[in-house]
Symmetry: C2
Subunit: 217 residues, 2 copies
């Protein structure tokens, strides 16, 4: 039970608790993985038998220490590959996800570490997500979700969720990239969108976008 499928499941579980720590339900997992609920239930049972997750029937799913280790390892692999694709192979940051999704299961540890070393052992990936160290250590920057930032808050963009490639392109066009300094001007009443000042000018961002961007605290 150390298949690529298992790696994908624990990574998805880990992913869910990485930036907002709530337990994950099977159906949320199914949505994220694009699988049927029944499939997830079955697989979770196998993962539990393999000691990678805790799960009581009809309850949420949580990683065991061992499952967490595997997940962190997988996250490291994914983000190292993404960084490598962008820095060495001319990929745009919205193009790397699918390729990394496959490669993270295919590279040996030796090759992965060689690639990481050739990049200078980076600590964050092109979206600002922290890259866990080879020993499993994770350093996460203090950050506030843009949607939760009060008016007047100012800070550099520390992370942009890689969930939606189209959004990544929209943000790139709007001049909002990693390390850009943003100032929260306020929420427009009833529209649900926020006004934000970037270097290039003022931008209105909808709630989806405001929940995809993290600012330095």
């Amino acid at each position: 039970m150390r298949s690529t499928a298992a790696e994908d499941y624990v990574k998805a579980i880990y992913h869910h608790t990485e930036w907002q720590p709530e337990p994950v339900t099977p159906s949320q997992l199914a949505t994220r993985l694009g699988l049927a609920n029944s499939t997830v239930t079955e697989m979770v049972k196998k993962l539990a038998a393999a000691g990678l997750v805790h799960h009581r029937p009809y309850g949420a799913v949580e990683l065991t220490p061992e499952g967490r280790r595997l997940a962190v390892r997988q996250v490291r692999r994914h983000r190292v590959v993404e960084t490598w694709l962008v820095e060495r192979h001319g990929y745009e940051w919205d193009e790397v996800h699918d390729e990394a999704e496959i490669l993270e299961h295919a590279l040996s540890d030796r090759l992965l570490e060689s690639i990481a070393a050739s990049l200078g052992d980076p600590e964050r990936d092109p979206h600002g997500d922290p890259i866990p160290a080879a020993d499993g250590t994770v350093r996460r920057p203090d950050a506030v979700l843009l949607a939760d930032a009060p008016a007047g808050h100012e800070g550099a963009v520390v992370r942009i969720s890689d969930e939606d490639p189209a959004m990544l392109r929209f943000l790139a066009d709007a001049g909002i990239a990693l390390d850009a300094r943003l100032t929260v001007l306020g929420v427009k009443p009833y529209s649900g969108s926020m006004q934000v000042r970037a270097l290039r000018g003022t931008v209105d961002v909808g709630p989806d976008v405001a929940r995809a961007i993290w600012l330095a605290a």
Copy 2:
């Protein structure tokens, strides 16, 4: 029917006819792939249905033009990856095979070509095997199997079979590498081994080795 398994089968079939053109039998395929005969028979039937091979029951297996295209593509991928591992990641030439075997199925065309370009589009891999071009063109050097070379023949090593990593290490120790100049001194009667002069001195090579080395014709 374009699975990684299918890619492995057509590659194995192609491989067999690359340096000595004889048809492949299912059992030879099974041996090379490390599978049961029955498994190969079943898979060959599926490959035939998919138009990748010709096969009449109880007969040999041959690639269709389409199967050959797929095989050549796969060979290119494998050899580009091997070259990359040796040149950029400090692998020894006897260590690359397993990693390449996995990676050749996982890289996108885009990434593979980017890697090939970064290597200067090499035309042969660390063992001397020709790397097919991206368009499927294969250039093969004129070569004689050491075992078939007459006494007195002299020529550079053009290719060393990558079948047996232990043999590759033995040869490296003996100073026999790609491009080394060898002279065939003759066959030792009854022992079945050949005497060969290399730069570093005279070496006795057994029949296995003599069938793994090709010299420039």
